[in-house]
Amino acid sequence: MGITFSTSSGPLRALDGVSLAIRPGEFVSLLGPSGCGKSTLLRLVADILAPTDGLITVAGEVPASARRRRAFGFVFQDATLLAWRNAEQNILLPLEIAADARDPRQRAQRLLELVGLAAFGGAYPWQLSGGMRQRVAIARALITEPQILLMDEPFGALDEITREYMNLELLRIWDATRTTILFVTHSSPEAVFLSDRVVVMGTNPGRVKLDLHVELPRPRDPTMKETVEFARHTAALRRALVGETRPA
């Protein structure tokens, strides 16, 4: 079980010759400037978009059939909660759509506990903070027990302090579920802190510039961010990114 792709999609050539293989249970970050196609790549894997040519397989299947058996959990930058549903009802949405009636409320409650919102099942999105909304979105993505969790800058809209806290929470959740995570970000420290591997992408057209294995031990601890090892990783990413950050 894993994801492999080699695509070159045109005519705009959003992505060109991207070739990547992800192992089951791996935490891989896609890092790059805006417009490098990292979100596009995520949507190709989830079969939200179709590649012009090239091949994507998820555990040996094409994305469409993986999507239909609900192999994916997707977390967007904005939580995308339905305003008329409370936290629990939002988490239950994927089960309703899949017509999966195996003790849904129990599963929702377990996930609310997992994301640290056990007492907030009845709260509506407008009553929750940005970080709490994103936790609900993560719980919703996990309820179908997906093989792969796709996260598109999930913490990009959060403040620095909340973001660091959510990073730790995500690692804890990942540890508890052991799902494969493909995580899009444009923060190098976030990518290094979370990932087993960081894939740096470049623009025009989107392509892979660096595939960095993160050599930091697990479990990760925020104090690691102050180590030379950590700085060595972020420096390598920065060097790969430089030249890509031309003024818009």
């Binding site: 904005d78 305003a83 009553q127």
Partner: protein, 268 residues
């Protein structure tokens, strides 16, 4: 010495008490009525031109049986038109969102119907449908139809792109997308349109009654004008306005019951 020194306390702004907030507009209305009454008494304006508020109130009480007899027909026509016009608009909006060809074909027709003045189309419909409730209901429905159609299409399409992507990842059917995403998110738009429709439906019914009717508030307006019973004319107008207000408030109450998820708008 510091450049900026802060030692402040921010007190919450005090809101006017509910009594005061009701009292001020009430005093305004009373003031207008008092001036009206006084002006007519002082300048001896004849009652057939403009009746004094006291005379209107008196007529209202004296003519209550007549008003009551006629309001029923207008209620049936306005409410009937309201339900039919809005129901057709909602169904058509759902069709448009799912079928762009249908939208391109039928939307220009809807616009064309909209451009015909209701005053012009009313006699045509009376000729077509006779003197009963039918033409009045159709006219009231026509006048409600367009704003709801436009708002409902907007509401059904005002869905976040990421919400649609989410439905795609979840492999939702079109039916599930409609019922779990598009319809709930269109409700605020729908209620905005319904509120407009309430007053429109009463206008539609009354205009239709002008053309040909032997009962209803519109009929009463025509008769009382011809007979210079200006007091009755004004009393009828008050009833028509109260009817529209009643329909409007019932939609407001319904909205409060249905849309419970939005935060209260920040009050000034």
């Amino acid at each position: 010495m510091s450049a900026v020194q802060v030692a402040a306390r921010v007190a919450p702004r005090r809101r006017a008490s509910p009594t005061l907030r009701l009292l001020v507009p009430a005093l305004g209305i009373l003031g207008v009525l008092a001036y009206w009454e006084l002006h007519i008494r002082v300048f001896k304006v004849p009652a057939y031109l403009v009746p004094a508020p006291s005379l209107i109130a008196q007529t209202f009480i004296e003519e209550w049986p007549t008003l009551q007899r006629n309001v029923g027909a207008t209620v049936i026509e306005a409410a009937g038109g309201f339900f039919i016009g809005n129901a057709v608009a909602i169904l058509l909006a759902i069709l448009f969102v799912h079928n762009k060809t249908m939208e391109r074909t039928l939307f220009p027709i809807a616009v064309a119907v909209r451009t015909i003045p209701i005053i012009a189309i009313a006699p045509i419909l009376v000729l077509l449908l006779g003197n009963g409730y039918a033409p009045k209901i159709v006219i009231a429905a026509l006048i409600c139809f367009f704003p709801t159609l436009v708002n409902m299409v907007r509401g059904l399409e005002a869905v976040e792109a990421s919400a649609l992507e989410l439905m795609r990842v979840l492999s939702a059917t079109r039916r599930q997308i409609l019922f779990k995403l598009r319809l709930p998110s269109s409700l605020p738009f729908l209620f905005a349109a319904l509120k407009i429709s309430t007053a429109s439906s009463v206008i539609g019914a009354i205009v239709a009654e002008w053309i040909g009717a032997d009962t209803g508030l519109g009929y009463l307006i025509v008769i009382s004008t011809f007979e210079f019973r200006t007091g009755l004319l004004y009393a009828t107008t008050v009833v028509a306005s109260l009817l529209a207000l009643g329909l409007f408030l019932s939609i407001v109450v319904l909205e409060r019951l249905v849309i419970r998820w939005q935060p209260e708008a920040p009050k000034q």
